[in-house]
Amino acid sequence: METAYLIETVIKIVVILLIFSALAGIGTYFERKVLAFMQRRLGPVNVGPFGLLQVAADGIKLFTKEDIVPTNVVARIFKIAPVITAATAFMAAAAIPFLPSFTLFGYEVHPIVADINIGILYILGIMGVGLYGPLLGGMASANKFSLLSAARGAAVFISYEVVTGLSILAPIMMVGSLSLIDFNEYQAGGFTSWILWSQPVAFLLFWIAAFAETGRTPFHLIANDHEIIDGFGTEYSGMRWGLFFIGEYANMFFISFVISIIFLGGYGDGSFLGAIGLLLKVAFFFFFFLWTRAAWPDVRPDQLMWLCWKVLMPIAVINIVITGIVMM
């Protein structure tokens, strides 16, 4: 292996880690502001201009708070669970092309850590491993509400893995590759060649499943504040809780990237405009996560399971069959 390649990869990893850790913080700022405006409030205003430094204040608070490991918890598992959530979120980012390749100081940069030929499979798999964060954290916490949350988390994640996988199968059949870059090249023809137009059902299913995978509001029952406190996060404090938080928000950004690249043409032809377009699409999907949180109520766990197994999964299977028939 070349030394230059190694250095380049390490730099990319560090850049992605730094940018998305910061984005997770800024994401919380935007979430508070957007929710506040939708509820006719002001949101954070006191720290810095427009409350922008609230993120820094929260960061200082999280880093300096006491790291509490309560009695009766399984300490080793309790300590490692938040790391699993944050680490799997960032590991999934390895196969996502964040921007088209560009030239920097005469050196061509591909903004993807590893263009592996099983990109989507890898992302889905790693996101599936992310289940172990809430599951282990909740089970090790010695808290009834955390345990409930862990059980719900396992049920929701495993169920919606099915919908995610089946819904994405139809686009994979059309493109004939699992690499996200190949997906992007397939839709390089512009607006009309987006997979969204040929696979609207798969797009909707994947989008719905994304809400379950990230645990956002219509399907927020894993850490539902009003019934099970903070679920698996109840016993956590300080930076361990912060890692759960960073993992959740990084996941939201990454799943937004994945939806944009698979269904909405990604960065298109690779021009500057295409790159801006990709960022705008990601921004919209991230905004939509916040938007639904302000607008929609949560569903019950049994309704969520009903929706997954009795509605979404049959539709996904039918979608695959129809796609297959059309392609033959």
Partner: protein
């Protein structure tokens, strides 16, 4: 004496009347069979109710009609009848204390938070020597202000009474209107329960002496 009858207009809240603003919500029967349930799901899924919710919150965001009151910097106006920390008023004519030390407020106080002690001063007048209100016990019911025959103890508008101990007392001197405020003529009368009503002077009749 001519008593002016004031007509008050209330909202029509009569549910039974036909012209009332109330109407029964049209609730469909709960579906019993599978086909009915399926139809309900389809109807709910494609009627676009979710988008109504999305539009409502987005509309509020665009209108940017923020209702936040940034509390320490901005405050809500409070009514003149608001019952917060007590005040002791002075007489307009002489700037002397209105309190005559009758002790009615101590008697009526239902949470036993007022303590008053009086003595006879050198002019053989009753004088308040000790007066304190335990704000940790006070429930701000307003009985003291209501019972006071001299309109001396009243409620003020100061509601920010945070303290590092619960048994926070206020003394007579702290409640008493400062003299410089009296000199400037800015003492505010309490308009709450027990206070004289406006235009009281015109309504006062002479005591009939010719029995």
């Amino acid at each position: 004496m001519h008593n002016e009858h004031i007509e008050e207009h209330f909202n029509n809240r009569n549910v039974t009347e036909l012209d009332s603003n109330y109407y029964m919500v049209d609730i469909a029967d709960y579906p019993t069979d599978g086909w009915g349930k399926f139809k309900r799901v389809v109807k709910r899924s494609f009627r676009g109710e979710l988008f109504v919710g999305l539009w409502v919150v987005l509309r509020e965001m665009i209108k940017f009609d923020v209702h936040t009151i940034q509390y320490p910097a901005e405050k809500m106006p409070i009514g003149p009848r608001y019952r917060a920390v007590h005040e002791m008023k002075r007489l307009w004519e002489s700037d002397a204390e209105r309190c005559i030390g009758c002790g009615l407020c101590e008697k009526i106080c239902i949470s036993n938070c007022i303590r008053i002690d009086t003595k006879i001063d050198e002019n053989s007048r009753k004088e308040v020597s000790e007066y304190s209100i335990n704000l940790g016990r006070c429930i701000f019911c307003g009985y003291c202000a209501e019972v006071c025959p001299e309109l001396a103890i009243t409620h003020g508008g100061e509601y920010e009474n945070a303290s590092d101990q619960r048994e926070h007392f206020i003394m007579f001197e702290d409640m008493l209107t400062p003299l410089d405020k009296m000199k400037a003529g800015t003492q505010l009368e309490f308009e709450g329960f027990g206070a004289i009503t406006p235009h009281e002077d015109e309504r006062v009749k002479k005591t009939p002496l010719a029995y």
